[in-house]
Amino acid sequence: MTTSSSSTRGVGKQAILYAILVLVLLWTLVPILWMVLSSFKPGVAQLSPTPVFFFRPTLQHYVALFTGGNLGAYFLHSVLAAGISTIIAVALGCLAGYGLARSHFRGKQHVAFWIISTRMAPIAAIVLPLFILFRYVHLLDSIPGLIVAYLTFNLPFAIWIMNAFFSDLPPSLEEAAMVDGASKFQAFYRVALPLVTPGIVTTAILCLVFSWNDYAFAATFAGPSSQTLPIAAAQLNTQTGLSWGQLTAIGTIVVLPMMVVGLAVRRYLVRGLTLGAVTGE
């Protein structure tokens, strides 16, 4: 399959390619590696004016975060807010995505455009009216408030992506099931839904990443009883003075799980991140 490398000058060309690629990988990976490395560095090595590469690794920053920093609670808030909003978005997204893919009505294009424009609205503009509305209905500083806030971008995203995945399924499969006596709901639930499992998993993971990584909504709506990890990370820098050790530790905690789940659906990422417009691999 690797027909693109010509055999004559292949070796030299590949050598140059890999040389450039090493530079690209350094640019990409050094910050991440440095963050993880620094999170295991003892305080003294942390405050050295010249970079320290060799040291006795310590868990002191992680321990400090969980004992003094209330990190367990923030972690739980993040999991609850991101997790529940993801589950709701994916469940509703499957229903509406299927409905949209299988129905034909006038103005369907406009409905689709409205859905997607909801996902693209600038966060700064959404936060304002929600802040006042949340004050009226007492959703400020609460996990349900964050779940609602995350649904503003996760729900339209889930509907749109699931619509794209369902549109790819030929309706003949469901029609065959209905000939065999299945109801329309059974055709959806037993036939169509299992066939779009990759789509569901991709949508769920991307919803999870978007809401887990949120800063702007939580910074505006969350308070002491709903603080999430990204907010805790941002506040480390301002409140307790500069603790780069703790900061890199919390950064590692926030970042690693999303890298793992993100790469797990790499095959379908293109589809999800281009809102269904480009089909990958």
Binding site: I32, L92, I115, L128, I132, Y136, A216, P230, A234, N237
Partner: protein
């Protein structure tokens, strides 16, 4: 009986089968759209109403109808105008660099014979990071006392001042942080486009003696143009959406040099508590992003991608 009610591959319309009520498909779609309407239309009309009022948060929430005064003020506000200019610079620089680097890196990775999957996985890592962590990590790396990158730049004699605290270097620094995080997205999308380029045409061109640049220009470029446009638009939309990195690095400073429009909006609302005026600025941003979204959907439609 059930079979007679199914649609024939979308050729016949639903109307016949619906009878009195809604069809099954509409029953699945409409309740969810109602939820979405509550989540999006309600705030949308509310922000319009806010922009027509002087909104105060003192002693509860008070609205004081102000007509179009927030709007006329916005169009004559030099500070907001400057923030828009900075936004456009930030937008063009980040998205532009990400596109150029992303396409270049994708072309590179596409030519790899071995390790392609591993390389791609490693390249994608920044994309999954919370932007706020990217910003904080950027602060760590550029810290003038302890930062790794600050140290390297100082030792190489390239730059020895506080990177994020100096007017001339703060904007390039926050731009590069965004470029670091989001170039991988462009790489990923463009690679998907490159994978779909017809290999037989490439081979035929090679046989005919076309060199790499000629093949790139006459075969590859036309085939991936659509995918590149999708990448550009997806990235543009998110570039307008997010402002986390700047918030946690410079928060607009030093001396307003990185104060792009969402930062200005946020401080207008939550530091000066001028929420009505912030609403007008927010609607300005909304108009801008709807224009971009319109282009996105038009192009998808013309390419037959949005069904």
């Amino acid at each position: 009986m059930a079979a007679t009610q199914t649609e024939g591959r979308g050729s016949s319309s639903n109307k016949g089968a619906t009878g009195g009520g809604f069809s099954f498909e509409m029953k699945m779609l409409l309740p969810v759209l109602l939820v979405l309407a509550v989540l999006s239309l309600f705030p949308f009309f509310y922000i319009i109403w806010m922009s027509l009022n002087t909104v105060s948060l003192l002693n509860g929430i008070s609205f004081d109808f102000a007509g179009l005064s927030n709007w006329t003020r916005m169009f004559t506000d030099v500070v907001v105008g400057a923030a828009w200019v900075r936004s456009v610079i930030y937008f063009v620089a980040t998205v532009g660099l990400e596109m150029i680097l992303g396409i270049a890196i994708a072309l590179l990775v596409h030519e790899l014979v071995w390790g392609k999957n591993l390389v791609l996985s490693l390249l994608l890592l920044p994309m999954f990071m919370a932007p706020v962590i990217v910003g904080l990590l950027g602060r760590f790396l550029t810290d003038s006392s302890y930062g790794l990158y600050a140290y390297v730049l100082r030792e190489l004699g390239i730059f020895d001042r506080d990177i994020l605290g100096t007017g001339s270097s703060a904007m390039p620094a926050v731009i590069l942080m965004d470029v670091w995080e989001w170039t991988p997205l462009i790489v990923l999308i463009v690679l998907a486009g490159l994978a779909s380029v017809n290999q037989y045409v490439i081979e035929a061109a090679k046989v005919d003696g076309a060199n790499y640049l000629e093949r790139l220009r006459h075969i590859v470029a036309p085939s991936i143009a659509g995918v590149v446009i999708v990448a550009l638009l997806v990235r543009s939309m998110d570039a307008i959406r997010y402002f986390d990195i700047i918030t946690v690095t410079t928060n607009g400073g030093p001396g307003n040099t990185t104060k792009i429009i969402p930062i200005r909006l946020y401080e207008t609302a939550f530091r000066f508590f001028d929420l009505g005026y912030a609403a007008a600025i927010g609607l300005g941003m909304l108009v801008f992003s709807i224009l971009v979204a319109t282009v996105f959907v038009r192009i998808l439609e013309s390419r037959g991608l949005a069904k």
